[in-house]
Structure formats: C-alpha cells, structure tokens
Symmetry: C3
C-alpha cells in the first residue's frame, strides 16, 4: 500500500497546526481559533448545520464555549488517525477522527460521539496554513 507524496515537513506543520488550533479553542480563545480559518471558510456539521465565514464560526463557537463554561464543563478536542492528500487544485485534504471529552467539576468524564472530519487547508498570505473548509460527520449520522 503506497500512501502519499506529502513532504515530511508538511506533515508536521499540519500536526502542530491542529494541536495549536484546538488548544486555543479548548482554552476559550475564540479569536485565536477563528484566525486559523479563511475569511470565507465553510464549517459544516452534517447533516444540516452550515456556517459560512470566520465571523459566523466565531459566533457559534463563542456560544458553545459560554454554555459549557456555565455548566462547569471542561472540554478537550482530540484528533487522531490523520491522513493527508493533495487535491487536484493544490489544496491539502486532511481526513481525521475527532473526539471530545467533557469533564464535569465533580470529575465525571463523558465523551461525545466521535466524528470523521474532512478539512481542506490552504496557504495564508503570511505562509501559514488556514482551514478553507471543515466538514464534520458525527458517528450518529450515516456516512
């Protein structure tokens, strides 16, 4: 099974990109989190939710973060099993699994259903990576 021709350096850049973005989200830094999307990014949660643009994504995430904080729940996003390929137009396509842990103040831990996520990453003007689109398929949605 031959896999990919993505350079090693790019693999690592992608790994750190995701770690950094989720640290920001889990730490409640919504402007930092949304800055890793393109201005016109598309954020979809199948089958129905669709956010378009950095601002809409930020508003939705702020609402979520505030709700969990009010409930005293600490969240962490874990990504894994990441695979990378190039799309025909030169973007980077990243497929991975995501799970979110919820820890209540009393220490009880629950997990949301896992998801399969497909991202398209592009280069920003400063040379860094940005998410141009993110499509999340929760395990409860038929693939």
């Amino acid at each position: 099974m031959t896999i990919t021709d993505i350079p090693t350096e790019l693999h690592f850049e992608v790994e750190l990109f995701y770690a950094r973005q989720q640290h920001l989200l889990d730490g409640g830094d919504i402007p930092g989190f949304t800055a890793a999307f393109t201005e016109d990014a598309v954020f979809a949660v199948r089958p129905a939710a669709l956010l378009t643009g950095r601002q809409a994504i930020g508003e939705a995430m702020s609402g979520l973060v505030a709700r969990f904080a009010a409930d005293g729940i600490t969240r962490h996003h874990w990504f894994g099993m990441r695979h990378l390929t190039h799309t025909a137009d030169g973007a980077l396509r990243v497929v991975y699994y995501a799970m979110v842990s919820h820890t209540a103040a009393d220490g009880s831990v629950t997990r949301e259903p896992s998801s399969v996520v497909v991202d398209e990453l592009v280069r920003a003007g400063d040379g860094g990576l940005l998410v141009a689109s993110r499509t999340i398929t929760p395990d409860t949605v038929p693939g």
Copy 2:
C-alpha cells in the same frame, strides 16, 4: 534516553499507513483493509485467537463489520503512543496502543478495553508497507 534510528520519512509513512488502513476498516472496505496485510499474514488476538492469511483475516473482519452494522453501531479504531524499531532481520517492529469507540444510533458512546498491539511491517513488491504479523493483547489479558 536515546530512542531509535528510524528515518523521519519512514515514521510518517507508518503513521499514514495506519490511518489509511483503519479508515478502510471503519468504512467497511474489507478488501482494502486486508490488502494491507501480506498474503500469509498472522493476526493474533491473545490469548487464543489466531488467523493466518489475508483471506481468513478478511472473512473474520467481514463477519465483525456485518454484526456491528446490523446493530446500528459505528466503530472507530484509534491508535496512539506508537514506537518503532528495526528487528534483527530488517523488518519494522511497531508497538502501539489501540482503542475502539462504539457509537450507537442514539448517540451513546462505549469503548472496548484498550489493547497493546505489536506489528511487524515489511515491504511489498510495489514498495509500500504491509503487515506481516499483528499481535493484539487486550487489557483484560495479563501482559
């Protein structure tokens, strides 16, 4: 603690190899999954189960996949904490942790006991990687 002399490129190839193989399995593509094993691969689940050969592995996995699909359960395999060394005969020995999440149609999430897995990887004729043996020790089995 000095660790390994595995080249960086090989590390990444291995990482993507596992992501790809498990995406295929979790997506129900059994021929794609088994194609990542050698024809005479050995697949063991300690203490007692032992499958030999790509075909036997495929049949066992098809049965599992059909059973979970009938129960409306979506499964995802997560691998992590991977360590690589070379064996004396030049194969690649990979030791890692595995866990499997089960999501029911109502969104409830359960997890099977984690496992420690030891794989031996070899080169296929086309230059890609193949699993020559996989030995799974579930946490419920004394190490």
Copy 3:
C-alpha cells in the same frame, strides 16, 4: 497561522520519547520510567502535589502502580495534541493532552479526567532527551 521552527527530526524524537516512557510506566518498569527524568526533575500535579527528584517521582509512581495492580486494573496513558516550542533558554517546551484508561479484569473501561500537561525537556549527557519538569493540570482544576 505560522507555527514553529522545530526541526522535523526533533518532532519525531519527541513523539517516540513519550511513547517509550509511557510504555515503560504502563508496563510497570518504574526505574525505566524515572530514567527519562533529570535527577532533579520537578513533577507537579496542580493544584497541590509536587515531587522533586527522580527518586521521589519513582517512589510515588511505584505506589500508584502497586495500588492499581492490587485492584486488577490495567492502565494506559494516552498523550495527544502535542505542540512544541523552544524556551528562551534553549529547552524544549511541550504542551499536550493526556488521558488514562483503566480497564478492570471484567473488561469494564473507565477514564480519569483528561489533563493538560506542560513539559520542559533537556538534553542528557548521552544526547538523549530528559524531562526536567512536568506540570499536570487535570480538567477538574481551573486552568
């Protein structure tokens, strides 16, 4: 979002370093585990626990390992979402998420609250990596 200037080889060395150290701990090899810390390492679990020195870390870990073994519980440490930067004095700062799975003899699986961990790694005399400090913030502790 530009991320880091850590060389790719160092990224992988760090990844394997953590896998190896946790395999040793989960396998009950406390001397092997503590050998990955500096002699005067600081091991903190917020808000209050603080161990100083390889010997104190080893004694505390031996106690934990013996307790879980007596209860028939198999533990595995999973690290993920790792981010690396250099500190001003040339050490390596690693921020990551950790979770621990507990499997009882009957196969039931529970998880401790996740943690955010910040490590500082330095070079040993033999060229390998060592943990100079580890600070663990469980999800139940306000960040």
